[in-house]
């Protein structure tokens, strides 16, 4: 593998050099800087500096009025891990685990639902396809808060959906499906569906059906045909969608805040609370830092999976 990649890189350089030998000359260096500097400045001012600031706060001590002060300690991380004045409590840890679980669950549900949707849109008559895609995207034109409130109504006690669930014995009578972890997952799935459907649609549209024929021709039954001929081709879309869905879902604030009730808090809510109501900036910053690290770890896992499953699917990550 590494050798072939070398060959590829060399090949790419070779073509670039032969196409326009002048492009890489030093006289163009100033020109290049002029073009990329606005972007670089933007990233430094709005990403690098704030991140460094956040990281610093996470290691500072919580002051009396919530403002962070010296010295640098690991207090915030200890507190995040549950060591407070009253001994150890697992509340924050639960929040972290819950966030990961809700993210994995809702991303999986989104994949399972979006995959056939994307496929059927590509198989629909050409004039229907833009309409169907529009139907997928239109809900996201409405404010997230308003949509979450919509779900509050649909799932609240006494609503037809809640009554139906109660009559089937899924929840106690007079109870609603909202507020609950279930409502949060419903909200996340609903909210992020378009971000999975669109990249999947893009890969399904380019699907090489001949590969499916080839797999069947080479003695693969329906399931193995899917695994060996369809899945690898859709993997780039699947990974792109997973990134687009799982990262914002993991840090989601609005949906768990509105649909979850107190017991369904996610990491985003915890962080927000520390910066606002609880006035504990170092704890909030530590939470945010853990969130960033968890996200990067998640990306790393996805990248590994992508490399393992299909050669050229690292593109997205």
């Amino acid at each position: 593998m590494p050798r072939t990649q070398d060959a590829r890189t060399q090949g790419a350089f070779a073509t670039r050099a032969s196409e326009s030998p002048k492009r890489r000359e030093p006289s163009h260096f100033g020109h290049l800087m002029a073009v990329i500097s606005p972007g670089v400045i933007w990233i430094v001012v709005f990403l690098v500096l704030p991140s460094a600031y956040l990281m610093t706060i996470a290691f500072m001590t919580n002051g009396t009025y919530g403002l962070p002060r010296m010295p640098l300690t690991l207090e915030a991380f200890k507190e995040l891990a549950g060591f407070g004045f009253l001994g150890w409590s697992p509340g924050n840890l639960y929040t972290l685990i819950r966030s990961i679980w809700q993210t994995v669950l809702s991303t999986s549900l989104v994949i399972v639902m979006a995959y056939p949707i994307a496929y059927y849109i590509t198989r629909a008559p050409a004039r229907m396809r833009p309409l169907m895609l529009l139907a997928v995207v239109v809900p996201s034109w409405t404010n997230q808060v308003i949509r979450a409130i919509g779900w509050m109504n649909i799932l609240s006690p006494g609503s037809p959906v809640s009554d139906l669930a109660a009559s089937m014995g899924l929840i106690p009578a007079q109870m609603g499906l909202f507020p609950s972890k279930f409502a949060v997952v419903v909200g996340l799935v609903y909210n992020f569906m378009p971000f999975m459907v669109l990249p999947l649609y893009a890969v399904f549209e380019k699907l090489d059906y001949a590969q499916i024929d080839a797999a069947r021709d080479l003695r693969a039954g329906p399931i193995r045909t899917f695994i060996h001929a369809v899945l690898p081709q859709t993997l780039p879309g699947l990974l792109a969608g997973t990134v687009l869905v799982s990262i914002p879902a993991f840090g989601m604030y609005v949906i768990p805040e509105l649909l979850g009730g107190g017991k369904s808090m996610m990491l985003g809510n915890l962080v927000a609370r520390q910066f606002a109501a609880a006035s504990n900036w170092p704890l909030g910053a530590a939470g945010a830092l853990i969130m960033i690290i968890a996200t990067l770890l998640g990306l790393l896992v996805l990248r590994r999976m992508g490399k393992k499953l299909g050669g050229d699917s690292q593109v997205v990550l």
């Binding site: 001949a210 797999a215 080479l218 693969a220 050229d312």
Partner: protein, 376 residues
């Protein structure tokens, strides 16, 4: 149904025990029979209308026709990738009509190659064997052998996107051949390649087919390709078989106007009137004993073109003016004006005689052996 086909498959496989060590030893491929195969996609789109065909084991058989004639659909029905709306498919004497593609011992080389991009060349070639559950060492051995045989032994570690068109074609061929199918189906496998590579691979394919003794069914729209490679050719049009026969027969004795045109003939004329001593066409009378027909074809290479004053008027000699001359190296191709808006094409071997210029008045002598009549 399935039981039957597996029985034949194992019988074929059991036949020569050393077949893999010596691929050139040759075994007879399976015969194929199609009975009334019909395919209807929608109410108004009929791809195949009752195809009956017998293909012998070990034959290089070509389905030839214009695009949309149903040739690819027929191939897909034999592969099991498409179900016939009606009719029966038999491979090696056993009906496989209801056997799905992945259970037929038939493999296909696809027009677009259809290689798996996420697998390297070795994994692509070994895919079919892996699906059969063969153990890794055996797969590796067979893949290497087949790759050597197809002359791509040096490409086994490459990624598919690092291959040229010709190399991809070879990988696709090896991926099918390694499974030692009863029948190999080739769906316009050379159409995407440039001319030189194409004729090289044409010869190589027929060589491989002869060495393996496998039944090949080849689909193409190129009559030259069909003639070069095939033992027999079936010309298809509009979902029907127009004529089946060896290339020579199709070229020299087309049975109808479509086949004549498709085989590249241009000198086609309506028969106005016919009796025992000859027939009348728009440019004059051809004297000779011809079979009855509504149309007549004159093969360009059987005609002789001479300077007008070098020949005495006689039967089957017609005065003409050279309208166009195409120099092809080994032959010169003349388009001759016979008057009355009638043209005839004659080819003359380039054996050192001076060629006629455009505008030259000539006489063209038609040999009766080059005249074929048929019904439209």
């Amino acid at each position: 149904m399935t039981g039957q086909s597996t029985a034949t498959a194992s019988a074929v496989a059991a036949e020569p025990t050393t077949q893999h060590q010596d691929q050139a030893s040759g075994r007879s491929g399976s015969s194929i029979e199609l009975h009334g195969v019909t395919k209807q996609f929608a109410a108004d789109s009929i791809a195949l209308r009752g195809i009956n065909l017998k293909i012998s084991g070990g034959e290089f058989f070509t389905l030839l026709g214009p695009s949309g004639c149903g040739k690819t659909t027929l191939l897909r029905i034999i592969a099991g990738l498409e179900n016939a709306s009606d009719g029966e498919v038999e491979i090696g004497g056993a009906s496989v009509t209801d056997v799905p593609a992945h259970k037929r011992n038939v493999n296909t080389v696809f027009q677009s190659y259809a290689l798996f991009n996420h697998l390297d060349v070795r994994e692509n070639i070994g895919f079919g064997l892996k699906m059969r559950g063969m153990d890794k060492a055996e797969i590796s051995k067979r893949v290497t052998e087949t790759a050597e045989f197809i002359k791509i032994g040096n490409l086994l570690g490459r990624r598919v996107d690092q291959l040229s068109g010709g190399q991809r074609q070879r990988v696709a061929l090896a991926r099918a051949l390694v499974n030692e199918p009863d029948v190999l189906l080739l769906d316009e496998p050379l159409s995407a390649l440039d001319a030189g590579l194409r004729s090289e691979l044409q010869l190589e394919l027929s060589r491989i087919q002869r060495r393996l003794g496998m039944t090949f069914i080849f689909v193409t729209h190129d009559q030259q390709e069909a003639m070069v490679m095939s033992d027999r050719v079936a010309v298809l049009n509009d979902g029907r078989i127009q004529q089946v026969g060896p290339p020579q027969q199709l070229y020299e004795h087309p049975e109808n106007l479509f086949v004549a045109r498709f085989m590249g003939h241009q000198n086609l004329y309506e028969v106005r009137q016919q009796d025992e001593s000859g027939l009348d066409t728009c440019f004059g009378r051809l004297v000779g004993e011809f079979e009855r027909g509504t149309h007549v074809l004159i093969r360009p290479e059987t005609m002789t073109v001479v300077r007008e004053d070098d020949v005495n008027a006689g039967p089957n000699v017609f005065a003409a003016v050279v309208r166009e001359r195409v120099y092809r190296g080994h032959v010169a191709e003349y388009t001759l004006d016979l008057g009355n808006d009638t043209e005839i094409v004659a080819t003359c071997n380039n054996v050192g005689e001076p060629m006629f210029d455009v505008g030259t008045r000539v006489a063209v002598k038609v040999q009766t052996s080059g005249v074929v009549t048929f019904h439209a």
